[in-house]
């Protein structure tokens, strides 16, 4: 609260002074509700998970015996966990840039002054709000050996290209452990591109016209304008989208569970960290082990975010 340098007589309290305090109080009150929920449901739950992970835990009786770092040691030597980490990292490293590219492409397209701009915006964003479970089930159906995708590529006559790559005419995309994760990557690249498109769109629209006019005056073509002007100016958006993407990608669960069941079939190709955590929880019924995995995942995501911030987070001086 800063006392306003009011030219009012010093004897009476300045109206501005009381109003500022009341405003601040109202502000804290508004923040207070969500903040309490955040502290309990977010921070509190992370702390509770940490607590659970260092105790031998019985579902019915709660904590039984203090076991310290036993779960964490077990995680480090658990093949299945590292296999899940491998899958998750593979997914994230490929899916994030792919979806960023598709999202950026869609944003640029939708940013043009074309007829039906609003319709296309809505259409591209729709998969993000539709049920991921329903979309995944439909996808599995589409890419099954005798599903629509294989039928259409057969009808279009592009099968020889696929044969050359080693995929037969009735390739089971989701059921073959070579191609299952890639199928999920493509599925998620399509569904999440709408969200990334929105982020990029917001940033694109904040670039002033003058920059483009200057580029046009300098004789830059469309492609040059995009790469030399637009793309670098989107750097804050790149950082944001990449960070959000990595955080989301490392937590892949829905599609892995629906496509591969609790074991991430086929052959564990779809086993991800969160799916293995689910397995520890409900198949192995080992709550403290699952909590420890959750903490490890938290550390992984936090580190990834910090690294990204360190490497890419600094905005260049204007």
């Amino acid at each position: 609260m800063t006392a306003t340098a009011a030219p009012a007589p010093a004897s009476a309290p300045t109206p501005g002074h009381i109003g500022a305090r009341r405003e601040a109080f109202a502000g804290y009150l508004f923040i207070g509700g969500p903040m309490i929920l955040f502290l309990i449901l977010n921070i509190g739950m992370v702390l509770y998970a940490l607590y659970m992970s260092v105790w031998k835990w019985s579902v019915l009786k709660g904590p039984l015996a203090f076991i310290g770092t036993q779960n964490y040691v077990k995680i480090l030597s658990d093949d299945k966990f590292w296999h899940a980490v491998q899958n998750t990292l593979y997914y994230t490293v490929i899916w994030v840039p792919l979806t960023m590219a598709v999202g950026l492409f869609l944003a640029v397209v939708v940013n043009q002054k074309i007829r039906g701009q609003t319709f296309f915006r809505g259409a591209f964003y729709f998969p993000a709000i539709a049920s991921s479970a329903a979309i995944t089930v439909l996808w599995i159906f589409l890419v099954s050996p005798f599903g629509l995708f294989n039928e259409i590529r057969g009808a279009l006559g592009v099968n020889p290209i696929f044969e050359a790559l080693g995929y037969g005419p009735n390739q089971d995309w989701m059921g073959d452990y070579h191609t299952a994760m890639n199928s999920v990557i493509i599925l998620n690249a399509w569904t999440t591109s709408g969200t990334f498109m929105l982020f990029y769109l917001a940033s694109l629209q904040s670039i002033s016209h003058e920059v483009y006019e200057a580029a046009a005056i300098d004789g830059a073509g469309a492609w040059q304008t995009f790469w030399k002007v637009t793309f670098p100016l989107l750097r804050p958006a790149h950082f944001f989208v990449a960070t959000v993407g990595v955080i989301g990608g490392l937590q892949l669960f829905d599609q892995a569970f629906i496509g591969g069941g609790p074991n991430g079939e086929p052959n564990g190709a779809l086993s991800t960290i969160v799916l293995y955590l689910y397995n520890a929880l409900f198949t192995q019924i080992n709550f403290s082990y699952a909590a420890a995995m959750g903490i490890v995942l938290f550390v992984i995501i936090f580190s990834a975010t910090l690294i990204q911030r360190q490497l890419f987070g600094r905005t260049p001086a204007a």
Partner: protein, 421 residues
């Protein structure tokens, strides 16, 4: 302060009033003082209980409703509330166990029965069984054993069971094979037959493979279930025999056929033979009624004796339940001759007792119950063993290497880990 005190007294009164609904004179399992020989008479019980079922078909739901309706006629003083636990049943139930509010009586699948018993989720039923004089001998023994804990107590009574039998298209297969050798011959004669994609639809995992392993003289575990027995010459030969069915094109997976499961493959006419349980009957009647097919017993293999595998589920009572007497009243009816007859009469499920009439079309399935071995729930961590086996087996088929050494190695590692952990 006075208001708070009045409020607290009101709560106390309501609590006392509610708990008075429990019938006096009969205590829950283990609650009676030592030496009490008070008999348990379910007809004397009154009160409420909730029954939890998993989400399956509307037909199954209404069959349970019919059984409960018949129950309320015989036991009008006990009201059972039927609730469906939708989604992942196992996950939902574990969450409810943790919150100490599971339904009073609920389904327990053989797959995780031992896990739930070990975790202490289920209430032992021995006291009730003894005090009521409830006979457990009519239950098929290998079904009942699944729900017996390592401490010897019974924690669930099987409500139904299924065995794996051979289902064949009677237009394509005139005489069903009775031995495994005949099976191979029949399949060979069907290779390349126009109209079908493959002779048999087979499961590249232990879900059905275990039955073939047993039939051909192999085994997963030693007789006492304490050590692995898959790395023996007999088991290896049996496993290779099964793998060769895939190698020689006599059997393919449902995935390769593009079908959701092997039952669909049989119905669509993609294959002439497959191996499924009693659930195939309802499916074929509703989805592929025009297909002419029959059940036949699992062919006898080189082991010389009939064998198949079975899957079962039981009713269990929550250890935390406040209505154990009422839950037991419902349980002993639903798994008794009368209740099970209503539940299985419509062909939704197959009886797990030998003294309940066999519903139409399930003769072969019930015959198999007499000589079947458990297909799940016979060892802890079987899920991991199944996964390891299925992954390795699937890999051999996908890579067309058809070698069982890798499968055996992966399975041995998984079994040892599961038995140790």
């Amino acid at each position: 302060m006075r208001r708070a005190l009045a409020f607290a007294m009101a709560i106390a009164l309501i609590t006392v009033a509610c708990s008075a609904g429990n019938s006096p004179g009969t205590t829950g399992a283990g609650g009676s003082p030592g030496g009490s020989v008070a008999a348990f008479d379910p007809a004397a019980i009154s009160g409420n209980a909730t029954l939890g079922e998993w989400d399956s078909s509307p037909a199954e739901h209404s069959a349970v409703s019919s059984a409960l309706a018949a129950f309320s006629v015989t036991y009008p003083n006990v009201k059972v509330d039927q609730t469906t636990i939708s989604g992942d049943y196992r996950a939902q139930m574990i969450t409810r166990f943790g919150a100490h509010n599971p339904p009073d009586i609920f389904y327990v699948n053989a797959e995780y029965a031992q896990d739930w018993i070990d975790q202490g989720f289920l209430a032992p039923l021995d006291d009730y069984i003894a005090k009521q004089g409830f006979a457990t001998s009519p239950f098929f023994k290998n079904y009942l054993d699944i729900f017996t804990g390592s401490d010897g107590h019974i924690y669930g009574l099987p409500k139904d069971g299924n065995t794996i039998a051979m289902a064949y298209n009677s237009d394509l297969v005139s005489t069903p094979p009775t031995t495994m050798d005949q099976l191979v011959q029949t399949a060979q004669s069907l290779v390349g037959k126009p109209g079908i994609k493959a002779p048999m639809c087979l499961n590249a995992a232990l879900d059905r493979g275990l039955a073939f392993l047993y039939a051909q003289g192999g085994s997963l575990l030693t007789a006492d279930n304490k050590a692995e027995a898959i790395d023996t010459p007999a088991s290896k030969a049996a496993l290779q025999w099964y793998m060769d069915l895939f190698k020689n094109g006599l059997g393919v997976t449902n995935k390769a056929l593009g079908d959701g499961w092997c039952g669909e493959a049989l119905g669509k006419g993609d294959v002439a033979m497959t191996f499924e349980g009693g659930w195939l009957l309802g499916f074929m009647q509703t989805t592929y009624p025009k297909v002419n097919w029959k059940f036949a017993e699992m062919p006898t293999g080189s082991s010389g004796s009939k064998v198949t595998i079975s899957y079962t589920a039981a009713y269990g009572i929550g250890v935390d339940s406040a209505n154990k007497d009422q839950a037991w009243t419902a349980l002993q009816y639903l798994t008794g001759t009368q209740g099970m007859a209503v539940w299985t009469g419509g062909g939704i499920a197959v009886p797990s007792r030998s003294d309940v009439p066999v519903p139409d079309g399930f003769d072969i399935i019930v015959k198999g119950a007499a000589y079947s071995k458990p297909g799940s729930g016979f060892m802890k961590g079987y899920n991991d063993v199944q996964t390891a086996f299925a992954n390795a087996f699937d890999q051999e088929i996908t890579n067309k290497t058809y070698n069982v050494d890798n499968v055996i190695a992966a399975t041995v590692a998984a079994i040892n880990k599961a038995l140790a952990g």
